[in-house]
Amino acid sequence: MRAWLLAEEPASPWQARLGRLYLGWRRLCSNPLALLGLALVLLLMLLAAIGPWLAPHDPAAQVLELRLRPPLTPGYWLGTDELGRDILSRLLCGARITLGIVLLTVAIVVPLGLAIGTVAGYAGGWVDTVLMRLTDIFLAFPRLILALALVAALGPGIDNAVLAIALTAWPAYARLARAETLLLRRADYIAAVRLAGASHARIVVRHVLPLCLPSVIVRATLEMAGVIVTAAGLGFLGLGAQPPSPEWGLMIASGRKVLLDSWWVATMPGLAIFLVSLGFNLLGDGLRDVLDPRQP
């Protein structure tokens, strides 16, 4: 199997591709921090999938006589919050919300940014100027502030929070895709494809886009950490998920009221956000070394 993957002269494009993937994987494995990141991200995915079944209690069930129990209370290992809800169960169920926010944002932002960036880079001329001016305007905006203003206008809620974050996140991808496209546009193989009669749309989709993907994947992984933290910030301000949702930022907001007496209520969800976000950062950092060696 190894010999097949590392064959000097692969017999098919598939074999070559898998071989490259394998080499990349081996490089990633030589970086323990990146593997730790990968483990944290996989753990989030696992918990998002099966968390609600692992939860020992109903995340919304209030047991008022068991309010503010400290961690390590039997049956409530991470303690309970000010309404007597089990924090561990709420964290487990909140994983799904966090992953959902991340996936939704990426699903909106990456295609949008890629489309705008590749079209601007490939077309050049006034199309490029207009699209890049637009990108600059959104880049010039402080992201959190723009998201705040948008949510204020649209009304609080997790859908609007995702929309606001997505609207502030796409310009970075557009810039990136444009820079890559500009490098590729004059390449000989593009000229060859064009001479073979390929349409512009086909060139962009089949021959330019795939080559932008590595740097976009790196960027997206690093960005997810930022998305998680921003979404939690909106939740903390009461502009994202609404009570009684077990969203982690919202849980910190409710723990803030009892911070000085019951430290664990705000600490536990914060740790969860931190670990997941660190996981994406470590993984992205490692992926950058593998996929995008030009970056510092």
């Binding site: 305007i137 905006f141 301000l237 931190f274 950062n281 470590l282």
Partner: protein, 339 residues
């Protein structure tokens, strides 16, 4: 080479940024129109007749075509008029001028902490590339990228205020010291120093040191990574080798040669990170009850005071654009090749 290029390039860049600022105003204008609140209805009440409603619409200028409304908005903003805040009944511009110094004070101190910590760390990491020092700095930076600032603030309050009592709690001053110093610059530390009120100075310091350190850590994380990258780029250049071969002391090679050249891109990065601190201060101010622009903005958000929200957004956006310009000018001024 040709000094005449500097003013021309700066003028072009200024024009570009003016266009960006115009776009920024267009975005805030559109956000303002997205609000599902009818201001005319709010004015006359829902039992008013259709003609009274139309009258109110006309008085507010809302019956005009959108582009005329935008021109009106543009004219107002350029005169520094953001309308009246519903929450405080003051002109928004006045409110912002009142709360802004508190934010500037916080962000400035945080930037100082970030530079004094981040630049040396980045230099050391670059010199010891691949060793445990480098990895430690890398992890410390990634932690800074991953921690939610508001949670970090809460944990800081919990440990350093509630448990250890090393610093004062939320707010800018203890109640007992409120109003003792005449606000000249609005920067409390500076005002207390000028007035010679040492007790106020100490109290203000005890209040600002924790939020500034928390914010400063984020700036430090960013600056350490950037410094490391810039330094590595310089240390691999041939002039560094020449300097070493010449027998210069290592500290001289590193500080006078490599760092001096790395400082050019670094200065622009510091200017930009100051802008990000203004943004990060929104959440920090909430946690520390810091009476700055961030607190003002969020209070306005909570009560759907759109004039205040958009005014604050425009001001912060304008500062961002200004810092971009400053970074660009500094870069051109410091780098003789661009000059």
């Amino acid at each position: 080479m040709r000094p005449a290029r500097l003013p021309g390039a700066v003028a072009r860049r200024t024009l570009e940024l003016a266009a960006t600022f115009l776009g920024l105003l267009a975005v805030t204008f559109v956000i303002g129109r997205l609000v599902p609140i009818d201001p005319a209805l709010a004015l006359v009440g829902d039992r008013a007749s259709a003609s009274a409603h139309a009258q109110a619409l006309h008085e507010l200028g809302l019956d005009q075509p959108l582009w005329r409304q935008f021109l009106g908005y543009l004219g107002q903003v350029l005169q520094g008029d953001f309308g009246v805040s519903r929450l405080t009944s003051n002109p928004v511009a006045e409110d912002i001028a009142r709360v802004f110094p508190a934010t500037v004070e916080l962000a400035t101190l945080a930037t100082l902490i970030g530079v004094l910590g981040g630049v040396p760390l980045g230099v050391i990491a670059a010199l010891r590339q691949g060793t445990w020092v480098d990895h430690a700095v890398r992890v410390a930076s990634l932690v800074g990228y991953s921690v939610p600032v508001f949670w970090f603030g809460l944990m800081g309050l919990l440990v350093f205020y509630a448990r250890l009592d090393w610093v004062a709690g939320p707010g800018r001053l203890d109640l007992a010291y409120e109003g003792l110093v005449e606000p000249r610059s609005g920067l409390l530390l500076l005002d207390a120093l000028l007035a010679g009120e040492w007790a106020v100075l100490v109290d203000a310091w005890r209040h600002i040191v924790l939020p500034a350190s928390i914010l400063g850590y984020f700036s430090m994380a960013y600056l350490a990574r950037m410094t490391r990258a810039f330094m590595l780029e310089q240390l691999h250049q041939e002039y560094v080798l020449t300097a070493r071969v010449k027998g210069l002391a290592e500290w001289r090679v590193v500080l006078r040669h490599a760092l001096a050249n790395a400082a050019v891109p670094l200065v622009t990065v510091i200017a930009l990170s100051f802008g990000h601190l203004l943004e990060g201060s929104v959440l920090t101010e909430i946690v520390f009850a810091w009476p700055g622009l961030g607190s003002y903005l969020t209070q306005a958000l909570m009560s759907a005071d759109m004039n205040a929200v958009l005014g604050g957004t425009v001001v912060i956006g304008a500062i961002f654009v200004g810092l971009n310009l400053l970074a660009d000018v500094l870069y051109r001024w410091l780098d003789p090749r661009v000059r």
